[in-house]
């Protein structure tokens, strides 16, 4: 996960791939070198983030080293390049580094023959239940069989029966018949998750993946084994038999469950999210994702979602709700108002919140609600708000988020504060009790689901969840990343930034913001960190914008 690769001192070596001489840094795997030369090598056990046991034999290529004269000088051919002495048997390309003068053939008849043979062996005991298997459509065995296989079976005997439908853990089901014993899952648990619970038992063609008898596969990273499994042997209980993968619309976005901002792909079909998988970003999460984050999307489709703006519990239209909210805000002095923003808001929403604060002339009467947990040392950050850095940058909180919330509680109890605006946060978690909330003149709340505060809200505005909106966030390492819309918001719920814009317009007149790109532009004009950027320029992998290490937020007293 290092980004500092300034002018590598690594020497380059000359390699001939399919007759073309190319240069690669020393230490490059042959399989990677071929990939860079646009010659794809099929592979099962090889995974760039794991060790290479070389046990699947799928990545075989023809290899050769330069012919040497007796005085160890390469023999040069008619073209001035070294002549290559080919090794008579195919070699695996995943466990070998490139070397000077090496020759590789990726499509020779011997290689094709070898691949056909390997695939025929792999399919001998495979159940061929693709219509049932969840992996169908993204199965490497299917893909390589079509591309490199021979298309028919010569196997006449009974197939070996192995355990099916085995619950390896609470989230994983194993079908050992489909398994091709690539051991990716075993190596992942051992090398990445540091939880060595998987292994191979039995012998010969009865080889099978199994969990340690006293353990279950319940690690918080266990679902990554499903992602890296090239076939349908390991399947996610959550996604099992729910939807075929070819129907899923893939939306590139980021995870919002903690400050890491892991890059993910949301698989959705017809406004329903079916699964979330990690997306490769070596500066953030590599190719992994914790199970707790990956499965935390069900609440988005909750039937209790707020779908209509309400005033004192009565459904009204948006125009009325915004007008009433603005009236309430204008009827109070700035000292009587308090605004609770959220570390879950996007930069654009935070920026519009700061504009709202300016319009209402609120000074220092605002903060965000901090959320902290324990960092697991891998991908889960201690800060469970995805955009604390952004909130600090835009000025919604001090360098210690939540430090002003004490004053909110004091102000409400003394009666100095009459009205509270909360943008997606539950006020009871900010230290206030339900009785305190009853004392207030008005609460203007913006949220997606009912919580302890919403029954007390004077004006309740239904907003969009993180999978339903576009915007940007800055993770704990100061990397600006982009959220994308995977599904549409339910009912009449609006985008948060639109609600804030309309509210500002109702309080202080129109502001000319029509699309979210305008908001980003205005934000870039106010904050130099975003200068010269736009939502499209951020790109799928994000950009570092804040370089200094931001201190971890301290746990709030109220939590």
């Amino acid at each position: 996960m290092s980004t500092e690769t300034a002018a590598p001192a690594v020497p380059m070596v000359n390699v001939q791939i399919d007759g073309v001489w190319l240069q690669f840094p020393k230490g490059t795997r042959v399989i990677e070198a071929c990939g860079q030369a646009q010659k794809f090598i099929p592979r099962y056990c090889y995974h760039p983030k794991l060790s290479s046991p070389g046990n699947c034999r799928m990545c075989m290529v023809e290899m050769g080293m330069p012919k040497m004269t007796p005085d160890r000088k390469p023999v040069l051919g008619a073209d001035g390049k070294p002549e290559i002495a080919w090794i008579p048997r195919p070699q695996i390309s995943c466990a070998q580094d490139v070397a000077e003068g090496m020759g590789i053939r990726t499509g020779s008849p011997m290689v094709e023959e070898a691949r056909k043979g390997v695939l025929e062996f792999l399919l001998i005991n495979h159940p061929l239940d693709c219509p049932i298997c969840d992996q169908a459509g993204e199965c490497r065995l299917q893909e390589f069989s079509v591309e490199f296989g021979q298309g028919e079976s010569r196997f006449l005997d009974e197939k070996v029966k192995k355990p099916k439908n085995v619950e390896l853990g609470p989230r994983i089901t194993l079908d050992a018949e489909r398994c091709i014993l690539c051991t990716r899952c075993i190596r992942f648990m051992k090398e990445v998750a540091n939880d060595d619970v998987l292994g191979i038992v039995e012998r010969g063609s009865f080889n099978s993946i199994a969990c340690h008898p006293d353990r279950i596969l319940d690690n918080n990273y266990s679902l990554n084994t499903v992602d890296i499994c090239p076939v349908g042997a390991l399947t996610s209980n959550d996604f099992r038999f729910k939807m075929r993968v070819w129907f899923l619309k893939e939306t590139k976005t980021i995870d919002v469950n903690c400050g890491t901002g892991a890059n993910i792909i949301i698989g959705s079909r017809e406004n329903t999210i079916y699964r979330i998988t990690p997306r490769e970003n070596n500066d953030v999460n590599g190719v992994w994702l914790p199970d707790s984050h990956r499965l935390n999307f069900k609440y988005v489709a909750d039937e209790r979602r707020l779908t209509k703006p309400t005033v004192k519990g009565q459904p009204v239209d948006w125009r009325t709700a915004t007008a009433i909210a603005a009236e309430i805000l204008k009827a109070h002095t700035a000292e009587q108002l308090w605004l609770v923003a959220s570390g879950r808001q996007t930069n654009e929403e935070l920026f519009l919140t700061s504009r709202l604060i300016d319009a209402l002339e609120i000074e220092k009467q605002h903060d965000i609600l901090p959320r902290t947990g324990e960092a697991d040392g891998l991908l889960i950050a201690a800060d469970r708000n995805p955009n604390t850095t952004g909130a600090k940058l835009i000025g919604l909180c001090t360098s210690k988020p939540g430090s002003r919330l004490k004053k909110l509680v004091e102000g409400v109890r003394s009666g100095a504060i009459k009205t509270v605006i909360t943008l997606g946060e539950d006020l009871t978690k900010c230290g206030l009790t339900a009785d305190d909330l009853k004392k207030l003149d008005a609460i203007i709340a913006l949220d997606i689901l009912p919580n302890q505060t919403t029954p007390h809200a004077t004006v309740l505005l239904p907003a969009s969840a993180w999978v339903e909106k576009r915007g940007s966030m800055i993770n704990v390492k100061g990397r600006l990343q982009r959220l994308n819309r995977a599904v549409a918001a339910p009912g009449e719920a609006h985008d948060d930034w639109e609600i804030l814009r309309d509210l500002i317009a109702a309080v202080s007149g129109s502001n000319g913001l029509a699309v979210i790109e305008d908001v980003f532009k205005a934000m870039a004009a106010d904050h130099s960190e975003f200068a010269g950027l736009s939502l499209s320029k951020i790109g799928d992998l994000g950009l570092p914008v804040v370089t200094e290490k931001t201190p971890e937020p301290e746990p709030a007293a109220a939590n």
Partner: protein, 176 residues
């Protein structure tokens, strides 16, 4: 390159057209006469005359689901027909077969299987794509209904139309 079609040189008789108009009218009158005398028979009078008995085996009528000789639903909800269906008439919701079911080893079956017969174009691609030989276009062609909801065939209706189909796929049968 432009290609100029040579125009035929018409005679004086052809140029005044009237003889050829009369000839044309003679042709149409001949058809009229033959039709009136009942010598031409090309149209089938539908509700009275039907070709049910002579309908060919390859006739593509309503798509249906079939069970095998053991009463197992052949469909395993792979959703390939849903994918291939050009007018998107098919909607499938898969489910896992409970462990106490006698066909539990098949693992998967459709929970809901709906074909919107208003959308269906009877192309037969679903039958062609089915890896389990579970969907067949049968000879029912008079699919009518009073409401739109009535025209959506659900799983029960599809099995009722499809009936039992024997042979072709034996992989789920008990080994002898």
């Amino acid at each position: 390159m432009a290609y100029v079609v040579p125009r035929p040189n018409l005679t004086w008789k052809e140029k005044i057209y009237l003889p050829s108009i009369v000839a044309g009218m003679a042709i149409t009158f001949k058809h009229l006469k033959r039709m009136i005398k009942g010598e031409t028979h090309v149209v089938m009078q539908y509700p009275e005359e039907k070709w049910d008995k002579s309908m060919p085996d390859h006739y593509r009528g309503a798509p249906t689901l079939v069970t095998d000789e053991h009463g197992r639903e052949r469909c395993v909800a792979c959703q390939l027909c849903e994918f291939i269906c050009p007018p998107r008439a098919i909607t499938i919701k898969p489910e896992e077969i409970p462990a106490d079911n006698k066909f539990a080893k098949v693992e998967k079956r459709p929970k809901e299987f709906e074909i919107d017969m208003i959308r269906c174009i009877y192309c037969g691609l679903c039958e062609e794509v089915c890896p389990e030989q579970a969907i067949f276009l049968r000879k029912d062609y008079a699919i009518t209904g009073i409401t739109r909801a009535e025209m959506v065939h659900d799983k029960a209706k599809l099995y009722e139309l499809g009936g039992v189909f024997t042979g072709l796929v034996n992989k789920w049968n008990p080994k002898k």
